[in-house]
Amino acid sequence: MTNWLKRPASETQITHGQRLWLYFVATVIMILLVAPTIIVMPMSFSASQYLEFPPREWSLRWYEHYLSSPAWIDATWTSLKAGFLTMCVATPLGVAAAYGLHVSRHPLGQFFYIVLITPIMVPVILIAIAAFYVFVQIRLVNSLFGLVIAHSILALPLVLIVVSAALKSYDMNQEMAARSLGASRFTAFIGITLPQIRFSVLTAALLSFLTSFDEVIVAMFVSGGDNSTLTRNMFNALRDQIDPTIASISTIMIVISSTLLILSQLFGKSRD
């Protein structure tokens, strides 16, 4: 142990001993970040009527309650459908926008980039209110289609940012080489560029799915009835009755999101 403290921490002269404060701060920050997420997990296995921590008795009753409730299951399907469709809309659009802005030498390119990422700069509630007013006019409130449009607006900037970053480190000459060898621009993009930025495109797709799947504010405004999302129903349930079903649903959502993120990291590892 004392040996370890005296050894250099990396390719520097600083020892682990001198870095102890850093390890401490990093650990505290990680706990603060993760603890609120982790804490719902034991709560979901409680036998109690109410949310409590730590649970006095363990049971799976709230998982059973969730799985046997048609309302919750319908809402889950709505959320999964909305997430999947948002991914299908936002990913190609975002990739196309990132490619176009990357290749274009248009003087307004930077301006268009900022316009496209405004949805993550303005408060979501404004987008929700705006979407609600527009959707009332064109009768899209409470429709899956409207929800997917609104969620795609939120997801598109993420796709744009992730894919633009990938294109910056990609050698565009390869696409020129492919075109000189007989590939049309589209063929060159699909066959040469896309395979090399696929990790970023997958990450972007995943982020757009999660943007929709985890989203509650826009969903509060524009989803409802048969097309209520899981998050919307959870929010309502929290307001009406405090019931550990929420904790079990949260746990399931955490597992889904983490699994997807871990998968994407594994994809990233195998990219070379």
Partner: protein, 359 residues
Amino acid sequence: MSKQDALPISISGLTKSYGSLFALDHVDLEVKSGEFLTLLGPSGSGKTTLLMALAGFTRPDHGSIRFGDEEIVTMPPHKRGVGMVFQNYALFPHMSVAANVAYPLKLRKVPKAEAAGLVERALETVQLGGYGERRIGQLSGGQKQRVALARAIVFSPRILLMDEPLSALDKNLREQMQIELRHLHEKLGMTTVYVTHDQREALTMSDRIAVINHGRLMQLDAPRRIYERPANRFIAEFIGESTFLKLERKGGRLNFAGVELEVDEVPEGRNLSLVVRPERLTILDGTDAGKTNIFPGTVKDLVYQGDTTLAYVTLADGTDIAVRAGMRSEAAIEKVKVGERVALGLKSADVVLIPDEER
């Protein structure tokens, strides 16, 4: 691939401007069928813009480009059927060597078995036979360049374009590849347009050199002519070393610092300067005779450079001129000391005159 398949390129009035800056300024250029033509110029001269216009990646504002009889100035790059080698290789790192080379064949829907044969042959041509299964990341710089070359020639294009393909290689490998490319061109015979800013590379490889500056074609000639008979001051400065001596015109004669110059012929027109290459001057030891121009001066500096010794001599009008003495006159130069007066000789056949330019 035989020489008859090669296509001539005919460029006329080609113009491309970016704002008020002309990258190409009414360029007219004929590349002969099967010729190795080098576009030589400093960076920003327009040589790359011209190559990109040939490849189809730059759309000129005006002018025409014809491959053979076909006007291609608005044709998209993938339909032009030219092979192109890029400066940084531009290989596809997610594919094997063989898949890289097979890519143009795949696009042309060549049957697999036939394609495999063509790929292997192209790899053998660039001396990489048996490297097909390698990953791009496992190759050295020189090998990458060979793969890029194989990929550009595997579909037997009638025109081959190369954009400074050797600039990323170290000096020895670069010189070796220059010779190899030259041999390859002799073997394949496709019309080749090669871009470089390296004058030695251009002199080594080309059938003809097109010197380009400020988007204009300055001179189009065989390497020997470009070096020995530069058309203007820019070319004389850019290619090889030169000293310029300002001449006075007196009647039908030319004088330098009051001494009349022996010239084969005196061109008409404007004021002229004499272009002197350091290796064309000799340090006279009194035995030389004949039609030789003599420039007296004082030795200012002697620089030993291994294969040669360079002497800087201050002439009567105060100009410093460089004299390069190779192996032959090494003995002569060894006798020379800094501060001594010497006489420099220049044969009348080596006199190169260029018009003075307002600078």
